[in-house]
């Protein structure tokens, strides 16, 4: 609506400016098609002139649309590239630094493999399963092999950019989501098992969930006819809860790494992790602000919220560490930042800067507690804390979105209609809870079934000898650091 309003305003202004200047304006704009400068402009109401004016209006309208499309498309293509950068090298470096030296390439290879594997699957059926059709649970096959996905926009999702841009942008989300899970299976999962499991997981867990929350007709969709409209601006449920909860299941199913928790397994290079986390922070602007699907004021709002939440979470995790251990660590600060990025993801396009600070601050503390306390209480070996950060952060973020979402930021339910608790619509918290529970349940059940299936076909865990020798050599036949060469 806002967009339409703007376009109208712009058009009006252009028309007002254009009428008196018709003679001068016309040739400079498009000399080929305009009816050559009509000299007798003073004699009003002549049918020729009104025809010329309406012709001019039509052209202006086209030019405005084209200009807007160009601007939106430029931002969305950049955003797509930024989101890809989150997986490689962002996440690959972040995770790569956290593992032991002998597993560095293996974990990086998993992220990189997903960049290739999911892209191919996406072109064949993935995009269609997520965004084709309008079923309540999963899309259809109408866009299989990217049929009909080209320069024309898909007005259901993004009316100002080519559908191909929307398609490739959404692909980048589908890549990073399974890559997050590898943080829980790190240092002990077979490469063959990883490939098979994540292929199945993408088709059976990610695609339906993405459709339910973002797809037309999906029953959690907030703006396209969902039964339980769940607010998820950029993927709190679809990306972070789904991957985080699946990560927990994987950690439990695979069991602990050999020697955990007795043997020390400190990160082999926090420098790599540090660079990775910084790339994630930058890439996340594409993830969250890009989810406005236009170069709009809403994108700016999401950008701003993302930044402040991240900063607040880095602070709160560091403060917690400083109080608890007497020293704030670099790993703590970057982990906090990632927790903040995760938590603000569902809320980014619905909240202002102050609620964003609050969401980030809370997420930093909750994830700190999950990673340092809850994990050791239950004793699961979530090697790189995929659940502690993404599962917990995603859940907190999704629920707090129900609290802080405001219609002044994004009137998603229609102009003037309350959105979240801050607007007085506390029922939204209930919808968020439904969305969270469904995402949890779906990820839990799906992952258990798929892991079991994978285990029967390829096996999921490497042998103890292979694990001790390291996945780089045993799974890929190479080493990350050949110091003698």
């Amino acid at each position: 609506m806002k967009r339409l309003g703007w376009t109208c305003c712009f058009l009006m202004t252009m028309v007002l400016a254009a009428v008196p200047l018709l003679a001068q304006e016309a040739p400079s704009s498009s000399p080929t098609s305009s009816p050559a400068a009509t000299p007798g402009a003073t004699s009003a109401a002549s049918p020729e002139i009104s025809k010329a004016v309406s012709e001019q209006l039509k052209q202006l309208d086209q030019r405005v649309t084209a200009a807007q499309s160009a601007g939106d498309n430029a931002w969305m293509l950049v955003s797509a590239a930024l989101v890809l950068m989150m997986t490689g090298p962002g996440l690959a470096l972040f995770y790569g630094g956290l593992v032991r030296r002998k597993n560095t390439l293996a974990i990086m290879m998993q992220s990189f493999l997903l960049m290739a594997l999911i892209s191919v699957l996406w072109a064949l059926v993935g995009y269609s399963l997520c965004f084709g059709g309008n079923g309540p649970v999963i899309g259809g096959f109408e866009h299989a092999f990217l049929r009909g996905v080209g320069a024309d926009p898909n007005p259901d999702y993004a009316g100002t950019i080519p559908q191909a841009t929307f398609m490739v942008y959404q692909l980048m989300f589908a890549i990073i989501t399974p890559a997050l899970i590898t943080g829980a299976t790190a240092e002990r999962m077979k490469f063959s098992g990883t490939v098979l499991f994540l292929t199945l997981w993408f088709l059976v867990v990610y695609a339906p969930l993405a459709h339910m929350v973002w797809g037309k007709g999906g029953f959690l969709n907030a703006s396209l006819g969902g039964k339980f409209p769940t607010l998820d601006f950029a993927g709190g449920t679809v990306v972070h809860i789904s991957s985080g909860v699946s990560a927990l299941v994987c950690a439990l199913y695979l069991g602990k790494r050999t020697g955990y928790p007795k043997q020390p397994m400190p990160p082999h290079s926090l420098v790599l992790s540090f660079i990775g986390a910084c790339l994630l922070w930058v890439g996340w602007f594409g993830f969250n602000a890009g989810s406005a699907l236009a170069a709009s004021a809403l994108a700016t709002s999401a950008f701003v919220a993302t930044h402040f939440a991240t900063a607040a979470a880095a602070m709160s995790w560091s403060i917690a560490e400083w109080i608890k251990n007497g020293r704030p660590s670099a790993l703590g600060a970057i982990s906090g930042a990632v927790a903040g990025l995760v938590a603000i993801t569902p809320a980014a396009g619905f909240v202002g800067p102050m609620p964003a600070l609050a969401i980030g601050f809370i997420a930093g503390l909750v994830c700190y507690y999950m990673v340092t306390k809850v994990k050791s209480i239950f004793g699961y070996d979530d090697a790189l804390d995929a659940f502690g950060v993404h599962g917990a952060g995603g859940t907190i973020g999704a629920l707090l979105t129900g609290v802080f979402a405001q219609q002044v930021i994004n009137p998603i339910f229609g102009a003037g209609k309350a959105v979240g608790g801050m607007d007085g619509h506390w029922g939204q918290l209930g919808n968020q809870l439904v969305g969270v529970l469904i995402a949890w349940g779906f990820a839990l059940v799906g992952t258990i079934v798929l892991l079991k299936t994978t285990d029967m076909i390829t096996g999921v865990r490497v042998s103890e000898t292979e694990e001790i020798e390291g996945l780089d050599i045993t799974q890929h036949g190479e080493e990350a650091y050949n110091l003698e060469s």
């Binding site: 020390p264 660590s329 790993l331 982990s335 990673v371 340092t372 306390k373 050791s376």
Partner: protein, 112 residues
């Protein structure tokens, strides 16, 4: 002929080396090592998990010297490597039976 093995704090290495050169000792072999004696390690915390790092980085200096030089070398190392805190390292002395220069097969103290 005696062999001196001195395990020292890496931070003292430059001073020790310079002082040894001043008393006329040119040759030595240096290795980066890890270890500990009475010195306890330190604790590192990664996301709430505590690791005690008890093997600490040290440098090991090895040199074989003619008997008259040994005492002066030991004194020099003691003087320059000492910080007075636990973890300063140790010096081991042992008798060496033979030394041979590979280039020209000189033997004994001539080879040093």
């Amino acid at each position: 002929m005696m062999k001196i093995e001195a395990i020292i704090q890496p931070s003292r290495f430059e001073s020790v080396k310079d002082a040894l050169r001043e008393i006329g000792i040119e040759g030595m072999t240096v290795t980066e090592v890890r270890g500990h004696g009475r010195q306890k390690g330190h604790t590192e915390v990664y996301r709430g998990r505590e690791y005690t790092v008890d093997l600490l980085p040290k440098l090991k200096l090895e040199m074989v010297l003619p008997d008259p030089l040994v005492q002066r070398a030991v004194d020099t190392i003691l003087k320059t490597a000492k910080t007075g805190k636990i973890g300063d390292g140790k010096i081991f002395l042992s008798r060496v039976e033979e030394a041979i220069r590979i280039r020209n097969e000189e033997r004994g103290e001539n080879a040093l």
